[in-house]
């Protein structure tokens, strides 16, 4: 058990059998889709899974949602409300599950909170010291997309449309939701790139198909769980081994043709 900074009060520093796996990424990159896929897959393999995500705490989830319906939520207040939500889930969901040997999948972790704070001009040292209470996860998978325009495409195809907070409207960055969204998400992507090195994210190119991202994620998760990727999964996960490659018969055919030519 390792914390980023000042540990949670009253927590014994013991090892736990579970694994803490984080899926990070900006709004609309497909985090929840991949968590749902991972969860089903892990459960089918016999792992107990807990999935959690921002604003889902019993303590503060509702309060944050209520606060976000208005526009009077100040920048500092917002950070601390999110931190309250995070620590409640850490203490009451994640830690107990890790102690019980669960695989904990979390949709975002402290990094999204840190990125949002930094984009809002909050002191980086301050926000990091608050989240010092966070456990260092076993792996952080960052679903990366290149540009905010790509996110817009995803928003349009999903039919979700633009959200006030996902567009950073509280920052007055643009005339309307679209302009603001592009500017806000561009800034978020920049901060995430910086956090990638700081926190050792494993980066996955999220602009590919759901299927290929999911396959990469599965392989990476197997590694975290110290499990060999079994044969039946190899078929769908990896390119076929060379000696059994489907191109081989073709080569043989060509050889046969060559032989038949003269």
């Amino acid at each position: 058990m390792q914390f980023y900074g000042t540990p949670l009060p009253g927590v014994e520093n013991e090892d736990y059998p579970g694994k803490l796996i984080v899926v990070e990424g900006t709004d609309g990159v497909g985090r929840s889709t991949h968590i749902a896929l991972l969860r089903t897959w892990l459960e089918s393999r016999g792992h107990a899974v807990l999935d959690t995500g921002m604003t889902r705490s019993v303590l503060a989830g509702r309060g944050i949602k209520d606060a976000k319906t208005g526009t009077t939520l100040g920048r500092l207040t917002m950070q601390l409300f999110y931190a309250t939500d995070f620590v409640d889930r850490l203490e009451n969901e994640m830690l107990p599950a890790l102690r019980a040997g669960f695989v904990v999948l979390t949709d975002r972790y402290i990094y999204s909170a840190i990125a949002r704070a930094e984009v809002r001009g909050i002191d980086p040292a301050w926000i990091r010291s608050i989240y010092g209470m966070a456990l260092v996860p076993d792996a952080v998978f960052y679903l990366r997309i290149n540009t905010a325009q790509q996110l817009v495409q995803r928003l349009l195809t999903s039919g979700r449309g633009f959200d006030y907070w996902e567009s950073g409207m509280d920052l007055s960055l643009g005339e309307d939701l679209y302009d603001s969204f592009i500017e806000y998400q561009t800034r978020m992507l920049k901060v995430f790139d910086r956090l990638t090195g700081e926190y050792g994210f494993q980066v996955l190119n999220a602009s590919r198909s759901v299927r290929s991202v999911a396959n990469d994620l599965k392989r990476a998760v197997m590694k975290v769980l110290d499990e060999p990727v079994p044969a039946e999964d190899n078929v769908s996960l990896m390119p076929p081994p060379r000696d059994k490659a489907p191109t081989k018969p073709a080569t043989n055919l060509l050889d046969l043709n060559k032989k038949a030519l003269p």
Binding site: A60, L76, T77, D88, G121
Partner: protein
Amino acid sequence: MISYGQHQFPGKLFVVEGTDGSGKSTQLALLYQWLKAEGYPVFFSEWNSSPLVKDTTKRAKKRHLLTPATFSLLHATDFADRTERDIIPPLKAGAIVLADRYIYTAFARDVARGVDRNWVRKVYSFAIKPTMAFFFRAPLNIAIDRIVSGRPTLKYYEAGMDIGWSDDPEESFTMFQGKILEEYDRMVSEFGLTVIDASRSIERQQREMRMLIGPHLNKQKRARSN
């Protein structure tokens, strides 16, 4: 983000601190009346009063959802909202703000609950440094008598029952308040708190407060037009 002690506002911020039952709220109310009567623009800000956080806190306390860490963070959230909403704007406008409990309450209670002393100070580092912070120091037995005799039952968190020191509310309360008082005493020099002897008469304490505050008011604009 501007840190504690670095803000430059034309307004003045006076806060009262002390254990439950030390009489600080009474003193602040009297001060408020006086400043108002003198014609100063004066605002009042209470602990646990953020409209955004109130419902969450109320529910959490009722259902015993809080741990030392979330107790600390939720109160910091409430305080941040008060700072952004009720404290900074009037101070910028040159008004007087009176706060019933301030960051020192959090430092005392959270540390008594086992939260790291430096961590909680860092969390609140965005707070405005008060012009003066009064610490109403009452001997422990007096404070405890005032609370215990004034209420039918002690509240769960108020009595520190969540820490699990004792199953008896009164015993737990006494232990918790003792630890809080220790933390306050430690903060007197750390933050330059002005100690008021809360065992003296109400009138005498009020006279002392007004005398101490007076010199800070010279430059304050009075709202009264004549």
